[in-house]
Amino acid sequence: MITNAYELIVAILSAIGVYDMILGYFQDMGMEFILKVIIVLVEIAVLLVFVLLTVMFLSWLERKMFAVVQARYGPMVTGPRGLFQPIADGIKLLSKEDIIPATADRWIFTLAPYIVFVSVLLVYIPLPFGESLIVSDLRVGLLYIIAISAVTPVSILLAGWASNNKYSLMGAIRAVAQDISYTIPLAITAIAVVVFVGSLSTVDIVNAQQGYWFGIIPKWFIFLQPLGFILFLIACIAEMGRIPFDFQESEQELVAGFFTEYSGMKFAMFFLAEYAHLFAVSGIIVTIFLGGWTGPAIPIIPIQITSLIYFIIKTYAVIFFAMWLRDTVPRVRIDQLLHIGWKIMIPLALLNLLVAAFVVTAGVI
């Protein structure tokens, strides 16, 4: 039974018939661990390339959708329909001067964008891309995701404070207030799902959603907990800091929020982190509420490929919704945001958890 990507790579190598040969070669030198390290590095490289390609595609998609909604063309010149625009943007950002303001705290200012990117990248570790396509099936996967997401506001605050700029600090304070007030309903609605599954592992959550009710309706948690799904979606959009909750950026009021002073490669890091976060959070929504990689099996094609395709389709549906919402609505006020977070979302999330716990204890499902 293959459970994660490491074992999948080993199985593929064995199927080709080269694994024993390579293993023997390393065993002769008495260094099997080097082979393990190499396989893990290959995994990481595949994941990084996937994330970078996704980020490039998402930034193009976002601009293009925004343009279509506003009856514009959007990027058109570089490549077919402007598809290579992200590459051009990346090269431009890499070749720009890397400015550090004279009054900034140099170390923290340099460190902050990398912390943001790494904390977003770490979320991908327990994310099941498909049957056995997971870097590591942690037993505390969901807790891990929520804990790692809590690192992001810290690094945003570091970036805002180190910039020594009133707009940056303002944006950082807003981002932290928003993240703290929306992580609570996020965690509570996630717990309501965990109550049903009885496990924090993301793979167990997906496995619990396999099968159908009455032969038609898939056993996704969105149908069991529609309220929980809506709360989780709103909380996720708020935590990503996208319109209508983009207080960390607030471009009409705060120039560019906490990354006002950033340029060049460091700005590119924030940019990468933003879209990588969008994909990761959409993947989490899909994993918890939309059945993860489950879907009708197709004969001949191996389940790893079909499940990956189902996961990508579902994730892009969620991303599409987030972008659609961004193209439509304006930003709410900061006091309205906190009102929604503390006075509506948290009581509703607690109610959701209470009902879920009651249903499970009573043994209805």
Binding site: V69, Q70, A71, R72, Y73, W324, T328, Q336
Partner: protein
Amino acid sequence: MAWISRNWTMIGIIKGLIVTMKHILQVGNRKTVTVQYPYERMKVAPRFRGKHAVDEDACIGCGICEVNCPNSTIQIVKYDTRWFPEFNLGMCLFCGLCVDACPMNALKMTGDYELADYTRESLVYGPERILFKKEVSK
């Protein structure tokens, strides 16, 4: 909290989402309003005030346009035995007073609006770049 008890159904947001979805799916006549500028251009209005043009046969070099110009854009210079106006478009505000004042109706404004240049000197449009010859129908 009044605003949320008033808007709890979120009808406004849903209506807005429907409108944007119609744009995404291209329902109805929702053509792109912008153009791919360097490759295609919008038609300018017939009375658009762009770069000047002087009718070579009609102009008598009287200098009334020079007097009427509010920004001293125009100077009368000698060109090939005759006198013609010279326009320093860096100072021109495209008001069209010179066109109104011309006694021979020799001045007109074309639809040419791509006048950006690298130096101030190249913005001075002498008679060699301004003059045109009217086609005389026989």
